[in-house]
Amino acid sequence: MKIEKEPISGQYGKFKIDGIDYRIYWEEAGQGIPLVCLHTAGSDGRQYRALLNDKKILEKFRVIVFDMPWHGKSSPPENAKVGNYKLSTDFYISQIMSFINGLELVKPVIMGCSIGGRIILHLAINFPDKFRALIGLQSAGHLDPYYDISWLHRQDVHGGEVCGGIAYGLMAPTSPESDKFETMWHYMQGGPGIFKGDLFFYKFDGNIGNEIKKIDISKCPIYLLTGEYDYSATPEETKSLADTIGIEMIKMKNVGHFPMSENPKEFLKYLHPVLNKIS
């Protein structure tokens, strides 16, 4: 029987992040300009499966997606304990920089969604010369908590069920059900407390106030794209961020918080022109 093989290859490697060894898993496909993609809180690199299969993009870009420590197929560190995971801004930046340096990527493009869309702002502030361009999906400078995130990690509530339920609502009713289900399924497979631990960065530690004004787009271009159905990072919040930075944002119709995963077909319509500009 002939199978339909995808052009993606996966690999494991040991990376030193803040002096500690981490076993990291990543997938890649294509050749050319490195495009490192960052997944959302509580999920993993499978969210970018469509990009890793998009012939048009793979002609010009080497798309690379890593699972953050504790996520997907990447391991927790030695001596890890359940309940101890909390993503800080510094640790998030360190893992991205360690990954880029480890793979010896020169001036990559970084594209991140949600927490990834937030961290690209920190990268723009701290290392504007290191990147060819930064793409923020569902980016907002800060987020005030709007529900009690302690529900995401309680021993009397199944973490997969509640995290999946939260993720499901963040998607557009117009996105294809099968892609929505897969996106939700990734959330259902997350480890106990990992989504909640990531949200520490998203809702507290990673909030950016006036520091946004330090972003200099002449040093590194930034592109911001946000789905209209996202109520976590709303189009209005991305617009306010874009206005502060002095760029135009792109509002994507018919998608929510996970454009690349919940409705790849629709998302790629918006992403192709951005990547054409960058290349």
């Binding site: 529900w151 509640v162 339920g165 499901y168 963040l170 117009t174 159905y229 109520y231």
Partner: protein, 124 residues
């Protein structure tokens, strides 16, 4: 508005599998009306429309009627498509013991969304 949660239970058999150990009563309020919903083993067994004198329930979802109407469209607008989206806009309030709701969050989202019309029509 929510009385029909009792109808078409056979169409919701997949949904009840997601909540097969759930037995609870909850209140849906539109501020004008109240609906007391009783669930046994994930199946809606009774929906009573208020007014009530001494209703007994575990948790309550309150939003103005116009917000519930927006939620119940075939294709709701952004911000009205999900109960957490409504919570975020501060038009919906969760009250009471939220454990049954949060431990079966997707079930409750899909249960309420099951009242949306299957066919799209003029939604003005």
């Amino acid at each position: 508005m929510f009385k029909s949660l009792i109808d078409d239970n056979e169409k919701r058999s997949q949904l009840s599998i997601m909540a097969q150990y759930l037995n609870t009563s909850f209140m849906i309020s539109t501020k004008e009306n109240e609906y007391l919903v009783n669930i046994e083993k994930g199946v809606v067994k009774n929906v009573e429309e208020g007014p009530f004198v001494m209703p007994s329930y575990v948790f309550k979802l309150t939003a103005p009627k116009n917000e519930w109407i927006k939620f119940l469209q075939h294709t709701p607008e952004p911000g009205s498509h999900d109960i957490i989206a409504m919570l975020r806009r501060k038009v919906l309030k969760f009250e009471g013991d939220l454990h049954p709701l949060m431990s079966h969050l997707l079930y409750f989202k899909l249960l309420l969304a099951s009242l949306r019309p299957v066919e799209s029509k003029n939604e003005n």
